[in-house]
Every structure is written in C-alpha cells, then in structure tokens.
C-alpha cells in the first residue's frame, strides 16, 4: 500500500505541475521519455531471447523446400521414433514430478512440524538451494559413483546377492535410473516451493478446527489440503517442466543413448539428425518450448492462487 500510494502522489504532482497552456505537450514528452528508459531491456530481450526463440517456431513451420506449413510439427507426432521420444520424456517427467512432489511435500511438512533441532530446517533449505540448482555433470558423477555399474551401492548389493543391473531394475529401463537421479533436484525444488505454503497454514486455523471438534484427518481434508492444493499442483507442474527440459544429466548418464526429446534435439544440433531435414530439429524444439511454456504459465497462475492465503 505504502509505496504505491507514494507513487501515485508523486506521479500526479509531476503531471499536474505544468498547469498552464503547454500541459498536454509536456505530458506527452514525459511519457515518451519514460518509455525510452526501458528501451535497453526490451532491445536486449528482443535480440537475445525473443529472436532466437521465435525463430525456432518460425523455422519449424517450413517444409524442406521452404514453404510455410505446419506439417513438420505434425511429423513429430506421426514419426514413430520422435513421438516415442516425447512420450518417454513425458513418462520420465511425470514419474519424477509425482515422486519428487510427494517426497518433497513430506519433507517440507516434516521440516515445519519438527522444530526440534533448530539447525535442521536451515541446513535442509540451504542444501536444497544447492541441489535444486545442480543439474548437469556433478549430479551424473555422484550417481555413477553410487549406483553405476561399479558404484558403491551396486557392489555392496552384489555382495548381498542383489543385482541392480539384473533383468528388472536399471539395465532394461534407463528411465528408471534417470527418475532416481532426477529426484535429486526435484525433491529440493518441491521443498523450496512448499515451505512458504506450509508456513502459511496458520496455527489459529488448526486450533479453531480442533476446538470445533475436528479430528486430525478432518483438519487436513477440510482445511489443510484445500488451502495447500494450488501450491501442491503448482509444484507438480513446475517439477514436470523442470524434468522435461533437463538435458545434460541424461546425456552424460546414458551417453546420449536414451530416446528423450531433449536428447533428440542434441542429436539434431550436432548434425546426427534422424530425418535429413533440419526443420525437424526446430519442430522438436518448438514442441518442447510449448510444453514447458504451458507448464510454467500454469505454475505461475497456481502460485498466485497460493499467495492469496499467505498474507
């Protein structure tokens, strides 16, 4: 309230000042001058973000002969291998998002509830900031050392007659190992998203519910979850987008052997295209941006709904 009121005040002062005849001219000059201040920002974003991004869609919307068409986007859906890559990316993202959201939610709830060692929450939040941000190579190395073919856990389990690389577990399904690995950044991200939301559950609501005779279960189904669900859904969607967009970890872990959408794009860029039309690469990237864009927009919308309760 404060700064806004302040802003209106000084703005109206600025506009009212030229009370004489040249008022409209003065006002117009002021407005155009203010716009100029944002010019560097808009120019920068235009050249270095919007131009390349829109070019992806534009170039994808052509056939090899250079005619404008949406056929290439359709080709992604009809070509078996490409459709599969999107399907596998989706499976991996759903798996890691759901697991990450459930575990992250539990962990965030535990952090808020267990106030015992005071350092616990700080330690986990700080670690989460690091881990949520740690895609890429270090993560791949960690897990190769832990559950790779010669990993510590692998060897330990083999000594106890359990083979991680048996028919069932990892070897036949790289998506499963990627899910386990992605959780390393998904869970912390969920914790970061959920902590403020769970903190927003006011003690007084719980007390009111208890005083009115609600059981613990009733409190959660009638008060807790209805308040938290936009945050939970938002977290799920964010985690989905996060995993869908990931490239480096998957590339290093599987050596580019897994058929994921992001890996296909990498192939295309390094010149190993499956189809010999470069439009395909743009179209895959276009689809991917679209999926992630929709997911993040949904997250933003849900986040605003959550914020309503946190005042």
């Amino acid at each position: 309230m404060g700064p806004e009121g302040c802003g209106q005040l000084s703005q109206s002062v600025a506009i009212d000042r030229p009370a004489g005849a040249p008022a409209p001219a003065g006002r117009r000059r002021r407005v155009s001058f203010a716009w100029l201040g944002l010019l560097p920002f808009f120019a920068y974003v235009g050249v270095f973000l919007l131009w390349p991004t829109l070019a992806v869609f534009w170039k994808g919307a052509h056939d090899p002969a250079g005619n404008l068409t949406l056929r290439t986007y359709g080709q992604i859906v009809t070509t078996n291998q490409l459709r599969q890559s999107f399907w596998k990316s989706t499976l991996l993202s759903v798996d890691s998002a759901v697991l990450g959201a459930v575990i992250g939610l539990l962990l965030a709830y535990a952090l808020v509830t267990l106030r015992r060692p005071k350092w616990l929450r700080n330690a986990v939040t700080s670690f989460s900031a690091v881990a949520a941000n740690m895609g890429g190579l270090p993560l791949a190395f960690f897990f190769i050392a832990a559950i790779g073919v010669n990993g510590m856990l692998t060897r330990f389990l083999v000594a106890h007659k359990i083979d991680l690389y048996d028919r069932h577990f990892i070897y036949t399904n790289p998506l499963r190992s990627l899910t386990i690995i992605y959780l390393y950044f998904q869970i912390p991200l969920m914790v970061i998203v959920m902590l403020p939301a769970i903190d927003g559950l006011k003690t007084s609501w719980r007390e009111a519910a208890t005083n009115l005779g609600a059981s613990k279960l009733q409190y959660w189904t009638r008060v807790g979850l209805p308040v938290l669900w936009p945050a939970i859904l938002g977290g799920l969607v964010l985690l989905f987008a996060n995993s869908f967009a990931a490239y480096a970890t998957a590339y290093v872990i599987t050596g580019g052997q897994t058929n994921l959408a992001s890996i296909q794009i990498g192939y295309f860029l390094s010149g190993n295209t499956i189809a010999n039309s470069e439009q395909i690469g743009y179209a895959i990237a276009g689809w991917m941006i679209l999926v992630v864009f929709v997911a993040i927009m949904l997250y933003q919308w849900l986040r605003r709904r959550t914020a309503k309760w946190q005042q």
């Binding site: 700064p3 944002l38 560097p40 973000l49 390349p52 616990l120 989460s128 270090p138 869970i187 964010l238």
Partner: protein
C-alpha cells in the same frame, strides 16, 4: 502480532506433554528426514570415497592435485570465471536499471517487465540453443564462434532470478523516498544509484551474483552445443579420459557452489533479506 500469538499458544499451555508428544508422535516424519538424508548424502559420500581413496594408495588427494595441474582444466576454469564476471556485470547493470526505472517511472508496466524477465524459465536451454544456432550462426558467424558470446546468453538465463532478487531488494527499502531525497540534495541519477541505491541493496546484489556464478559454473548444454569449451564442458571431456578426474572436479564445483550459498545464507539471515533459494523459483 500473529507470530507472537502463535508463539504463546505453542509454548505456554500444555508445554511438557505436547513437547514429549512431538517427539513420540512423529517417528514417521523423522523416518522421512532420515531417508532423505540418506538419499542425498550417500551419492556425495560415494563420489568422495571414489576420488579420495585410490586403489593401492589409500586416502589421498592425488586425484584432485593431478587434475588441477592440467593446463586445460585451469585454463577453462579461468575462462568460466571471466564469463561469470562479465555476465554478472551485464545482467546486474541491465536489470538494476530496468527494475529501478520501472518502479520509479512506469509502475504500471511492472507486470509486463516481470513477465518478460521470467520468460527464460519457459525456454529450456536445449531448445534455446537451437534458436541461437539457427539465428546467429548464419547472421553473425564470428560472434557465435567467439567464447564471449556466452556472456549474452547467460545474462538471459540469469534474468529471472536477477529480477526477483532486485525486485524484492528494492521493495524492502523505500526507493522512491531514498532517490527523491538524494535527488533533492542535488545528486545526479548515476550518483544516486551508485551511492544510495547500491549500498542499500547489498544482499540482493550478492544473491543475484551468486546464483549467476552457480549457473555459469554449471551450464553445460548451451556451451557444449555451441562447441565452446568452458569449465563444465572440459569436465565432461576429462571424465571420458580419466577415471577419477571428472568426478573430482564435479565434487569440487558442487562444493564451491555450496560454499557460496552458505555465505549468502549467513548474509541474508543477518539482514533479514529474502532467501536465495526462493528467488530461484
């Protein structure tokens, strides 16, 4: 107010019984914490043991010393540090000016600027690099061949949290009054920004800086596909040639980032600023 009331409620009435109850009634939550700790710490332990306890040599720092001695490793690390430095200068200058200008002159455009600032979240790096290669390779081939082009794209990647961090920082202080006071006392705009705004924004600037460093030191996708050998790309290369070198460098870079966040945590807690992690999403 409400915090005080909550405090009273939590501590005063049935103090001994609830406290005992917290400990006893929550073994499930402790199990969650313990399992998560195991999941998150075990891989770090595994990679530390793998790189520190070499076969036939026992516990030694040899793998680390050897890999740091390599010229390419040091050279690319220095390159990444320089790229990070220029990225920080560029993104902070651009975003500080933009956020400040929006707040003071065009508050109505604030939602537009915010939306544009978080757009980079919606373009995955792997798709972004396709657009970059498609547009800049034909138009400016020498620009895209230079390693410094990464500065411009990393500044884009840094935009969302630079914006968040600065926006939160500027909201916490009353910029309008501060700048009007400073201008009223005869300072110019640059002087006002340099001597009034920036000193008041220290923790926000620090947060944006560290997140940017973390991004630049970890970014593999764009650099590798533009064929520019930055530190992360070199780490991947080392990993294919030596058994211990790659993981050792991976652990080191994670420790560097963790250290930065720890410093940031101490800073923001003291000043009651926003959590760095929160600025990230």
């Amino acid at each position: 107010m409400s915090a005080v009331r909550a405090e009273v409620f939590v501590q005063a009435p049935p103090s001994p019984r609830t406290r005992g109850g917290w400990r006893l009634s929550n073994p499930g939550l402790w199990l969650v914490v313990a399992l998560c700790a195991l999941y998150f710490l075990f891989p770090i332990w595994a990679v530390a043991k793998f790189t520190l306890e070499l076969p036939g040599k026992g516990w030694t720092l040899k793998a680390y010393v050897d890999v740091i001695k390599e010229g390419d490793v040091r050279h690319t690390f220095w390159l990444s540090v320089q790229i990070a430095f220029y990225t920080i200068i560029l993104s902070l200058a651009l975003m500080l000016w933009t956020v400040l200008w929006t707040m003071l002159k065009l508050p109505r455009l604030q939602p537009v600027v915010e939306f544009i600032s978080i757009l980079p979240y919606m373009v995955p790096p792997i798709a972004f690099v396709v657009g970059i290669a498609g547009v800049f390779r034909p138009a400016f081939p020498s620009f895209i061949a230079s390693q410094w082009c990464l500065v411009f794209f990393y500044a884009v990647l840094a935009m969302p949290f630079t914006y968040r961090s600065l926006d939160a920082g500027l909201r916490a202080i009353d910029v309008r009054t501060l700048t009007e006071a400073s201008r009223g006392l005869g300072a110019g705009w640059l002087q006002t920004i340099w001597r009034v705004v920036i000193p008041n924004l220290r923790s926000a600037l620090l947060g944006a800086t560290f997140l940017t460093v973390a991004v630049v030191l970890g970014e593999y996708t764009i650099a590798s596909l533009l064929l520019i050998t930055t530190f992360p790309v070199e780490v991947a290369k080392v990993n294919q040639q030596e058994i211990f070198g790659g993981p050792a460098l991976g652990l080191l870079s994670m420790l560097v980032v963790a250290l930065m966040f720890a410093v940031l945590g101490i800073f923001t807690r003291k000043r009651g600023g926003t959590n760095a992690a929160a600025a990230f999403v």
